[in-house]
Symmetry: C2
Subunit: 336 residues, 2 copies
DNA sequence: GATCGACTCTAGAACGTTCTAGTTGCGTCG
DNA sequence: CGACGCAACTAGAACGTTCTAGAGTCGATC
């Protein structure tokens, strides 16, 4: 194989089939304006010459690019699942996806600017961390849909989970099992930590358990959960609702090492339904986000904006659901 | 914001700055042929008009597309880490990456054909599953680098881990700890399962332990490991080298539930150094692939091919390394 | 004082498509 | 038999770049 040889173009196919370039274009796009006979002949030639349309030239000419840029993070739990859903949704309505990853050494700004140069029609950002002001500036240029976080700026569309509700579900579940002394280990300064914390507080109040409400400083990682667990050991509650699954596993580990039985002595609820939370020996009760729905809505919203529709609801909030597994059980009988 | 308004182009910048389009192009590309004064003025205007180059037009014109297509799987353990490494490597040599994901409902063929339409200069495939014949056909059209699998066809470049060596490491480690009765739970029909199985057999023979060599049918997932564990319970060895971390966690769970102490009664080694294997309460001894090196070499190889270099070694095999954690320990004193 | 070379800049043709505005050929209708 | 409509097709101009070839300008050299 010689690398230098050009790929076959419309012109090649046209010459070979003895028709004009425009006609080949018509056939390739399945547009009206060609007889069945020619259509077939052209397709046959195209197949024989192994013709592949050049999307760059195509998009360059046709202006609007049926192309959605997606920024995702390589380290994040369910971004992969979200990507799956986004591909499904995009394909259903005939859009292409182009991905740009955020890695430990490639920041969000870089990822976004790459997509801008690809001239996508809109951007879908998974859990964007950049300042809202920047998001807003971006949204002045092209439609931007932020997922899994709130954005006050009204140029930016938002599709997110009702995180407050997620903690309602967790607390309700624990209360139903008889728990009263329920602690929340929060996400610290992490995205949507505030919403979840507030959701926890609301739920406790609603159950008349303000007196028990207690928030322990946590974070995103396993160590954060472990640290919170050590803090809890002095005066252990009967149940803990944790910011996310990763932190919950760290917490579980420390608790168990100190001889506490889960769920015998203490119940734990995570958040995210991460793939590892399903592992048999973790088997974590957790709050799952409705990823397919979120993906579908994000794509739909982006496309509406591209088509210039005036969209009524800027923010779409999806209810999560509780996945009950093995780390929650009835509250232990009160001691003393 | 009106979606319809065109983005600013070179022509806009040129008009505003009172120079020709070509000159603006020169300035934007940082090419020689413009005075420092104009350069600065043009850059200022470009910044003010918020000019973003159109990579489609750019690549269309300039023919060769410093663009590498990467196909990765959303479900796979270390594909994320590999992506990180690929971005690093590509950036170092001034190449762009364009990603295409394989999802449960988007197969490899689709992912690849998307990249072909984007006219990438070469393809990097992470653990491709398509038939080698197809890979070869693809490689006749543009440089193809397959990672983490062997491909006999000589048009296709390969960068992979020395999987046989990985199992040598695992077995050597266990033997050093005094184990003799070491079982291998394999990956079934999975990619590179054969290499690892062979590596296990070789290592056992080298240690004069042919008599103990025993391969149990496993697979990729947690359930496969769990199933293998139940099979082992009748006649448990003192150590198990498992095909991958996921399977190993399934195996660990079943063993522990049946009262076996790890590593007291039985040691376990995984493969992949998956993120969850580092979790404190899994703490799995495992074989890690040298991901940064593999990524760097894959990109380097792709670029060599693009530049038309005659590359001597079609296949690059990287040695793995053992990460010792908490699931391996000294062999228990022989019973009876 | 003409010629040269260097530097800075510009005009215009690519690249591979799509799209607009035709031009054919041909059957049908008044 | 001329006008019309329609289907099938084509020529050529876009799209936003890069690239080639060349045009000015200016100081230095012969």
């Amino acid at each position: 194989m010689t690398v230098g040889d050009r790929r076959t173009t419309l012109a090649d196919v046209a010459a070979e089939a003895g028709v004009s370039v425009a006609l080949v274009s018509i056939v390739m796009r399945d547009a009206p304006g060609a007889s069945a006979a020619t259509r077939e002949r052209v397709l046959e030639v195209a197949r024989r010459l192994d013709y592949q349309p050049d999307s760059r030239a195509r998009l360059l000419r046709s202006g609007q690019s049926r192309l959605l840029g997606v920024v995702f993070g390589v380290q994040h739990p369910f971004h992969d699942d979200l990507l799956t859903g986004l591909y499904d949704a995009a394909e259903r309505i005939g859009y292409e996806l182009t991905l740009s990853a955020v890695t430990p050494r490639r920041d969000e700004r870089t990822a976004i600017s790459g997509l801008l140069q690809d001239r996508c029609a809109a951007l879908v950002l998974l859990g964007p961390q950049i300042p809202t002001a920047e998001l807003a500036a971006l949204a002045d240029r092209l439609p931007v849909v932020a997922m899994m976080r709130t954005v006050r700026q009204r140029q930016v569309d938002v599709v997110r989970t009702d995180d407050a509700r997620g903690l309602h579900l967790a607390v309700d579940h624990l209360v139903e099992l008889g728990h009263r002394n329920i602690v929340h280990v929060d996400g610290g300064r992490w995205l949507s930590s505030a919403e979840r914390r507030q959701g926890y507080r609301d739920a406790m109040r609603r159950h008349g358990l303000e007196a028990y409400a207690r928030v322990v400083n946590g974070g995103f990682g396993e160590e954060d959960g472990a640290r919170a667990a050590r803090e809890l050991l002095d005066d252990p509650p009967t149940a803990v609702a944790v910011f996310n699954d990763l932190s919950a596993t760290g917490l579980l580990d420390v608790l168990r090492r100190h001889g506490l039985e889960v769920p015998g002595d203490l119940s734990v609820v995570g958040y995210d339904d991460s793939s590892f939370s399903r592992l048999a020996h973790i088997d974590l009760t957790t709050v799952a986000q409705d990823i397919p729905t979120m993906a579908t809505l994000a794509v739909a919203r982006a496309v509406e904006r591209i088509d210039g529709a005036q969209v009524a609801h800027r923010e779409v909030v999806i209810p999560p659901r509780l996945v009950v597994r093995g780390t929650t059980g009835p509250a232990p009988a009160p001691a003393t």
